[in-house]
C-alpha cells in the first residue's frame, strides 16, 4: 500500500463572522450559530484563485515535511469551484510549484474530491512515486449571499488543503479504502455554470446520514476493526450535527471525531485536508490507533479511507 507522508493547508486571512454575514442574509447572528454550529468562515481575497490557494497549501505540505516539489511524480487537484470550465487548477498548481512538466489531474467532484484523490493516489503512487493531492475551494464565489439563498450562503467558506501520498514512507500507512457513487441524487447538490450553488439540504443530509456510517462500517468490518478502537475520525466538515449522527450510528466516542467547522464553515473538498492538517499539528502526532478519513458530497460521491499510524519502536 501507500503512506500519508505529509499534510498542509492554507486559509485566506479574511475572517467573516456571523455578525457580518447575518444581516446580509437576513438572520440573527446568534440564530445562525445555533442553526449551523459555524462561528466564522474565511473568504478569499479578490486576487486569490483556486490555484493560488492550492499552491499555498501544497507548499505548506511540502515544506513542513522537508520535501522538494521536484520529488512529486503526480499532482491530483480536487475542486468544485474552479474559475474555468477547463482547464482545472491542477496544471496551474503544478506550474506554481515549479514542476510544470509533472502530470497533473483534476477531480472536479466538490466535497468528496480530496478523499477520492487520496484513494487514487494510493494506487497511482506505485507508478508515479510521491503523489501530491491538493484540494482548493473558493465557495464564497459560487454561493449567492442574500436572504433568498441564506441556506447555502451561511454554510460555506474558502480554503485549501494538501496531502502527499508516498509509496515508501510516511506518518500513516493507507490500509484500505471504500469509494462509492450514486447518480440517482445528482440533482440534489449541483453548481451550474451561470447560477449559484443549489443544494437540497434535506436530501443531502438524509443520504449522508445513512451512507457515511455505512461506508465507514464496511471499511472497518473488512479490516476487522471496531469503531470504538479507531483513534481519530477525520470527516469532511459539512455539518456539525451530521458528524454527531455519524458518531452515534457507529457507536464511536464523539470526541474522537475531529471538528473545526466552527472556524471555517464547509470548505467542500478542502475541508478534509484542512481538518487532517490541524488535527496532525494539534496533537495528532501523539495519537494512537487507526485513522479513518471519510467524506460525502455532490454526485453523490462518498467513501472512507483507513490509515494505520506507524507503531513506535
Amino acid at each position: 500500500m501507500a503512506w500519508l507522508r505529509a499534510l498542509g493547508c492554507y486559509l485566506p486571512s479574511r475572517v467573516v463572522d456571523n455578525a457580518e454575514l447575518g444581516p446580509q442574509v437576513g438572520v440573527d447572528p446568534a440564530w445562525l450559530l445555533h442553526a449551523t454550529g459555524i462561528e466564522q468562515r474565511r473568504f478569499a481575497a479578490p486576487d486569490e484563485t483556486v490555484a493560488t490557494m492550492g499552491i499555498r497549501a501544497a507548499k505548506d505540505c511540502l515544506e513542513g515535511a522537508g520535501v522538494s516539489a521536484r520529488e512529486v511524480g503526480l499532482v491530483i487537484a480536487a475542486s468544485g469551484s474552479g474559475e474555468f470550465r477547463f482547464p482545472g487548477p491542477a496544471t496551474a498548481i503544478a506550474a506554481g510549484l515549479g514542476i510544470s512538466g509533472t502530470p497533473a489531474i483534476d477531480l472536479p467532484m466538490a466535497s468528496a474530491g480530496s478523499l477520492f484523490g487520496i484513494a487514487l493516489a494510493a494506487s497511482l503512487s506505485r507508478d508515479y512515486g510521491d503523489v501530491l493531492v491538493v484540494a482548493s475551494e473558493i465557495m464564497s464565489r459560487v454561493v449567492r449571499i442574500d436572504a433568498a439563498n441564506r441556506d447555502t450562503a451561511v454554510l460555506f467558506g474558502d480554503g485549501a488543503g494538501a496531502c502527499l501520498v508516498s509509496r515508501d514512507e510516511g506518518l500513516a500507512e493507507i490500509a484500505g479504502s471504500v469509494l462509492a457513487s450514486d447518480g440517482e441524487f445528482a440533482e440534489a447538490l449541483r453548481l451550474h455554470l451561470d447560477s449559484p450553488l443549489h443544494m437540497d439540504g434535506r436530501t443531502i443530509i438524509l443520504q449522508a446520514a445513512r451512507k457515511l456510517p455505512r461506508v465507514i462500517g464496511e471499511l472497518l468490518e473488512r479490516n476487522r476493526i471496531q469503531a470504538a478502537d479507531v483513534g481519530v475520525f477525520l470527516l469532511h466538515q459539512a455539518n456539525l450535527n451530521l458528524i454527531t449522527r455519524v458518531a452515534q450510528a457507529l457507536g464511536a466516542p464523539e470526541q474522537r471525531f475531529f471538528r473545526n467547522i466552527a472556524r471555517y464553515g464547509n470548505t467542500s473538498s478542502a475541508s478534509l485536508l484542512i481538518a487532517a492538517t490541524e488535527w496532525w499539528r494539534d496533537g495528532g502526532q501523539e495519537s494512537e490507533g487507526p485513522m479513518i478519513l471519510a467524506a460525502f458530497g455532490a454526485g453523490l460521491n462518498w467513501g472512507a479511507i483507513l490509515a494505520n499510524r506507524r507503531k513506535s519502536a
Partner: protein, 77 residues
C-alpha cells in the same frame, strides 16, 4: 393502534412534542421535521414497520406528510 396513529406517534417522538398534524399538512413547512429529525423518523419507521427503506426511496417528498408516509408504507406492504 392503526397505521396513521403509529406514524403520528413516531413523528411526535422524533420531533420531541405531542402533535396532531392534518394528514396532508407539510411536516417540513410546519416545522415538525427538519433534515435531521427526518433521518430519525425514517430509521424509526423502519424499526416500527419492520421494513428496510432503500436509499433510492429516500426522497424527502415521500415523507412530507402523514398521508404521503402512509402511502409509501402501503406501497411497501
Amino acid at each position: 393502534m392503526d397505521k396513521q396513529s403509529k406514524i403520528i406517534e413516531i413523528i411526535g417522538r422524533v420531533a420531541g412534542q405531542k402533535i396532531a398534524p392534518a394528514p396532508d399538512e407539510s411536516l417540513f413547512e410546519s416545522g415538525l421535521l427538519d433534515s435531521f429529525t427526518l433521518t430519525d423518523m425514517v430509521t424509526a419507521l423502519e424499526a416500527e414497520f419492520a421494513i428496510r427503506i432503500p436509499d433510492s426511496d429516500l426522497n424527502p417528498r415521500k415523507f412530507d406528510s402523514v398521508a404521503r408516509i402512509q402511502a409509501y408504507l402501503e406501497s411497501r406492504a
